[in-house]
């Protein structure tokens, strides 16, 4: 974000706060009061965040929005802030509603004066009536010019709000000022607006003139022209503003309508993406989405069934069997095949390998001895050194085996 955009965003963020300080005498409050106000306008902020917010206002660039006065610890709203708002207002070229009101009031007063003159008991002054009518002509002409100017100015502002090259914060700030300007002007476009009421009253007055037999034809004709002018001006003023409002309103709404956290969050996410790329958002860590086509998510139906069986078995309640101390057996370590094969290979001849192993390991069963013999044969890895003999019976405990004896000769 550029420095100006940051500055404007700080202004926008604290708009209400700054407006409240602007209402104070000399635009000045104490530092503690400033923090209290920040807290009031932003109840969601923690005390630490309030400190940071105040610090941000004091240290903003290109100039501090709030200036510290070191002598007495007070803070004051920087004079440039009010100037900035004033400058932005002047840049709009939208004629203020007060000027329009003044012109309409001039028409109203002239109309009242004319009626008073006609209703007077004495012979009325036609010259004075003519002068008042000229005043009304002038005011109506000015109103039409203002209406035209506002229409053009609002159209220009509409274009500015649409201009994506201008900072979002600047456009938002301008939209706020435009809205402030337009709000009173909206009164004009209603059917019962003050313009309509004044014109209706003036029309009645002019009707009285035209209905009076003692009034000269010239004045009646002027009254007729003034009536038409009033009707034209009233229609034009209202229609110009109505069409201008219609064109700008959607763009104002974009900036002014209350945005939900969803909208604000989406905007921020897209801005971050634009600036730093999508990886910066680290979306997958925030939202893991499963992908169906991924191989390790696919299980065949049979695999799934097997898995269910396994899960169900594993969740079955285990039946605990009692342990009898009387059935305790001594621990028998496994036969060390490496050492044994080394020993065999050191012998010049072993007539019967299985018998040799069984004698060496009398506590081991027939099956472990047989397995050890095969392992040793593999370990020695020389088939030519083996000699196969007759079928010989071997037994140990309950196990019994009849196989050809295998001897070893180096």
């Amino acid at each position: 974000m550029s420095r100006n955009a940051t500055f404007l965003s700080i202004l926008l963020e604290n708009e209400e706060l700054l407006a409240s300080i602007a209402q104070e005498s000399e635009h000045r409050v104490s530092l503690s009061n400033l923090k209290e106000r920040i807290s009031q306008f932003n109840p969601e902020l923690s005390s630490d965040q309030i400190e940071k917010r105040a610090d941000k206002l004091i240290k903003s660039e290109p100039f501090p929005i709030i200036q510290e006065i070191f002598q007495d610890g007070d803070v004051v709203l920087h004079e440039k802030i009010t100037e900035l708002f004033l400058w932005l207002s002047n840049q709009l070229y939208i004629v203020h509603d007060k000027i329009i009101e003044t012109l309409v009031e001039t028409i109203n007063l002239a109309s009242e004066d004319i009626r008073q003159e006609i209703n007077s008991e004495n012979k009325f002054n036609t010259h004075l009536i003519s002068i008042k009518m000229d005043e009304m002509f002038r005011s109506l002409s000015q109103l039409r010019n203002i209406s035209e100017q506002n229409k053009r100015a609002i159209a220009t502002q509409t274009q500015n709000l649409r201009d994506k090259n201008v900072d979002y914060e600047y456009r938002k700030l301008t939209a706020g000022i435009i809205e402030d300007h337009l709000e009173p002007l909206r009164m004009m476009i209603n059917d019962d607006s003050f313009i309509v009421q004044v014109i209706d009253n003036a029309e009645t007055t002019l009707g009285i003139i035209r209905g009076n037999s003692t009034v000269s034809e010239e004045l009646k004709s002027k009254s007729m022209r003034l009536s038409k002018d009033m009707a034209r001006t009233s229609t034009k003023t209202r229609e110009d503003h109505l069409s201008a409002f219609k064109s700008i309103q959607p763009f104002l709404d974009v900036f002014l309508k209350k945005q939900t956290d969803l909208v604000v969050g989406s905007q921020k996410a897209l801005n971050l993406m634009n600036e730093f790329g999508v990886k910066h958002l680290n979306i997958p860590s925030r939202i893991t989405l499963l992908k169906g086509t991924r191989s390790n998510n696919i299980f065949s139906d049979s695999a799934f069934k097997k898995w269910f069986i396994r899960v169900n078995k594993s969740t079955e309640v285990l039946e605990l069997k009692p342990i009898s101390v009387e059935q305790a057996t001594s621990y028998v370590p496994s036969i060390p095949v490496s050492r044994l094969s080394e020993r065999i290979s050191q012998q010049s001849e072993v007539e019967d390998l299985l018998l040799f192993i069984m004698e060496k390991y009398p506590k081991h069963g027939l099956r472990p001895c047989l397995k050890a013999m095969v392992d040793c044969m593999v370990k020695i890895n020389n088939f030519n050194q083996l000699e196969f003999g007759q079928i010989t019976p071997y037994s140990r405990g309950k196990d019994y085996l009849e196989v050809a004896s295998i001897g070893y000769a180096r």
Binding site: S266, L270, L281, P284
Partner: protein
């Protein structure tokens, strides 16, 4: 319920969840998951997943603790970005003061997303964002929407390109809101 799961009665439901579906209140399976939550949870835990129940929003989905692969990351980025852009477009389109929030998104009448998100109508800056995450044509945009439909996050409701969001979209709504609190470069 464990026996029914074991007998394969809910295979379609389990498959759907494993494929990334979000089972919401509108689905008949929602009640099954609700009633047998513990058994389903045990089942999925054994597979390395966690069954999440978003009670307030009314939907279930599976979450995996394992780090996603690059393909999955790309897909998560595309779906999320499409969602962010949709919110932007809806906000710009909405001229009255209606708030764009979750109830607004869950409107049954849906939104003409294929038109709103089309390259022909999308503003340039948003179109560029689409390009940046690999959605370079309307067909690719519709493919992402279709993927969202597979996951039951969205649903196409008419042939003229109108889509409606389903309850599961609350996950993306939460994601978007999480950025609202993040102030870029600031500590607040």
């Amino acid at each position: 319920m464990r026996d029914r799961i074991g007998s394969g009665e809910f295979q379609k439901l389990i498959w759907g969840l494993l494929k990334g579906e979000h089972i919401d209140l509108d689905s008949q399976d929602y009640t099954h998951l609700e009633e047998g939550f513990d058994d389903f949870q045990n089942t999925f835990r054994s597979l390395g997943f966690s069954l999440i129940h978003e009670l307030g929003s009314g939907y279930f989905y599976l979450q995996r603790s394992k780090v996603a692969d690059s393909n999955e990351k790309r897909q998560a980025n595309q779906i999320s970005t499409l969602f962010f852009i949709t919110i932007q477009v809806l906000q710009d389109k909405e001229t009255n003061k209606t708030a764009i929030d979750l109830p607004y998104l869950l409107n049954n009448n849906g939104f003409p997303l294929e038109h709103l998100l089309s390259k022909r109508t999308l503003p340039n800056h948003l179109s560029r964002v689409f390009n940046g995450i690999g959605i370079k044509s309307d067909e690719e945009m519709i493919a992402v929407l279709t993927r969202m439909q597979t996951m039951k996050l969205a649903e196409k409701i008419s042939d003229n390109g109108t889509w409606r969001f389903r309850r599961g979209i609350a996950r993306l709504e939460q994601l978007a809101r999480s950025y609202a609190g993040d102030v870029g470069g600031e500590e607040e």
